[in-house]
Subunit: 391 residues, 2 copies
């Protein structure tokens, strides 16, 4: 099938707030070929990624992403790999490329799955998808009391794993942090997995993070996530060898395979967290899954947007039985909820399942999305090079 069109749709809530919530806008990618549509979502700045798709060439290693798409066929897994390689080669010096490629790659897998009538995880070589234990992923409350209430609510909703992150944590001293940790543990009860996401609060200051280890251990924290900025290898490694030992998680900031490889090999992580919407799509995420298996590190998806993105993030490690924890956003803005009618919901045992339908198994609900659509027009020397297509 020849690729007929690659279309971008920039969607946004009417008001975007200055908070750490990535579900306030979205960039969807629609690829059409042979009468079939594939959809993907980039975790990106939408306008910047659109520009990276249509910009004029700067030199041989700084070409727009469209250069690697035009005239292509999509009939096999090899065709997707070939496009992914081409983008990496042709847009090597275009910094934004990996975020843009992510949605394109996901849409290509969705398209191919629909054509071959298989869920994506099967095309990736897995025979079977194993259930994942979703953790309710949410921000810390503004006060320990608010954290306690959020914790109680998540457990009451049936979640057997809960993560708190960002917000006030790491910002107002040790005592306040301990109060939040105690409130979180008290709220979720003793039997729930509890993860803590420091949101890079200590940059590369090991002492700052180390001070919290005793409290984290006491609260039986399943992992401490991103105490430091992505790639602060020394800090991660030192903390991973400190006592009391608390497992470290990180990697969401990785924008390509090599960065993830470095984090796996040098940071002393127990969990590598990858966002398929940011690292270059399902193809690159699967490479990280394979390396994580060899390295005895647990792979976890990073997902803070729609259920379309959630399906895309689950596919790469769906067939890995032992890596059974998955991030599950529970505070999505209405836009992210409206992207698909179908949702990936926990079953009666509290586990989620990657859709068994072809492709991502999540259809985009285009009608309802029209109200969120942001029209973009780009002209170069008076000539229109981009205009938002019909949704």
């Amino acid at each position: 099938m020849k690729i007929e069109s690659v279309d971008f749709f920039y969607l946004s809530m009417p008001e975007v707030l200055d908070i750490g919530d990535g579900s306030q806008d979205a960039l969807l990618v629609r690829i059409r070929a042979g009468g079939i549509e594939g959809w993907g979502e980039c975790e990106t700045s939408p306008l910047t990624s659109i520009a990276s798709y249509v910009c004029p060439m700067s030199h041989s290693a700084c070409k727009p992403l469209k250069y690697s798409m035009e005239g292509r066929n999509i009939n096999s897994v090899e065709d997707i790999k070939s496009i992914s390689s081409a983008v990496h080669e042709n847009s090597f010096d275009l910094l934004q490329a990996d975020h843009t490629l992510s949605g394109i790659d996901i849409a290509l897998w969705d398209l191919l799955g629909k054509k071959l009538n298989e869920p994506i995880y099967k095309l990736l070589g897995y025979n079977k998808a194993y259930p994942k234990l979703p953790y309710a992923s949410q921000l810390f409350g503004d006060s320990p009391e608010a954290t306690f209430e959020k914790a109680k609510k998540a457990t009451a909703s049936g979640f057997k794993a809960v993560k708190f992150g960002w917000g006030p944590f790491g910002k107002y001293g040790l005592e306040k942090d301990i109060a939040h940790l105690s409130a979180a543990r008290e709220g979720v009860g003793p039997a729930t997995y509890l993860m803590i996401d420091a949101g890079t609060a200590w940059n590369n200051n090991v002492a700052g993070a180390k001070e919290r280890l005793t409290a984290l251990k006491k609260m039986n924290t399943y992992w401490l996530e991103e105490p430091f900025s992505n790639m602060e290898l020394d800090a991660y490694k030192t903390l991973s060898g400190s006592t009391p030992e608390v497992a470290l998680a990180g990697g969401e900031g990785c924008n390509n395979f090599i960065q993830a490889k470095v984090m796996i090999e040098y940071a002393g992580l127990k969990f590598i967290q990858i966002d398929a919407g940011r690292i270059g799509g399902i193809s690159v995420a699967k490479q990280v899954v394979d390396l994580a298996q060899q390295s005895n590190i647990t792979y976890v998806n990073h997902t803070f947007t729609s259920h379309l993105a959630l399906s895309a993030s689950l596919q790469p490690f769906a067939g890995i039985e032992k890596d059974n924890i998955s991030e599950y956003p529970i505070e999505l803005k209405q836009l992210a909820q409206d992207i698909s009618k179908a949702k990936i919901l926990p079953d009666e045992n509290g586990y989620i399942h990657v859709p068994e339908q072809p492709g991502l198994g999540i259809s985009v609900d285009t009608e309802i999305l029209k109200k969120y659509l942001v029209d973009v027009e780009i002209k170069i020397n008076g000539k229109q090079i981009y205009y938002t297509p019909d949704l």
Copy 2:
């Protein structure tokens, strides 16, 4: 002085060829405050960087760069640091941000230097600028004969150091590579520094690079640059410890300080090569210089565009006497030559000097650049959010 305007100018040769020459287009940044103008240049995809400056906010860590610029004052070095920190924090998840920030940061230093009537290197804390030995930086010829001719010509022009890179090297087998290396050495003569840039030809394949060490050593190669992709730490480290020993150089692909730090600490490099137009400007480049000093690694600028960019790349290590090699592009397209009338030319001993005039010491020749100007217009929901200002 209050910042009055931050303007971007996308310039391009009439025809951009599919070759590894980054001087075919340019993105200049002009910042005005208190009746003074500062100029900078980004090594970037121009349209994509413009979009990253004006795009709507996606969430708290994915804001347009303009968010960190509006209403700012510029009176001191601290003000530049504050803007740089703000961009890193506010545009943390906007992948393109570091390339865009680079030109902004350079323009801010130029502006401040003009206001304080000092060259930038003095504002960076250096008392004195030391001469640098420029190496004629060029692509390999298509054949060993062509490489020989280019080598002869560079030496005849007075260069005491010559680098060949990219082109056919690493692509057509060991024998062809040896022929190019021999031709290069023969052409430049025995007394000239000869550097070889493999242009990441072997990705992460150590064996491929290792095969060339004997020939590289025999040709008295001063360094082997980028045998592998940026951040392929294991491959770099292994090759750095292989015999015969050839000094390794790398780092041009670093887009932020942490990546450069990782390359300095883990890759076994002898030379760290930083492009101030890509890593976040003069501010971040200077951080890398400081770390390189502590780590006993030689800092070298990466520059393949205009003399405005060359001055910006020289400032961060101008005061380091022992780091006395500098990249000097000699195959610039007319556009890059036309950006400034003033040029940084080798003296009678073959050394170059960072300009002693205020700021970058290189004025932009706006009149001649008008013919290269690419008009960009971006509309969001019918409202113009960007239009190329008057040059």
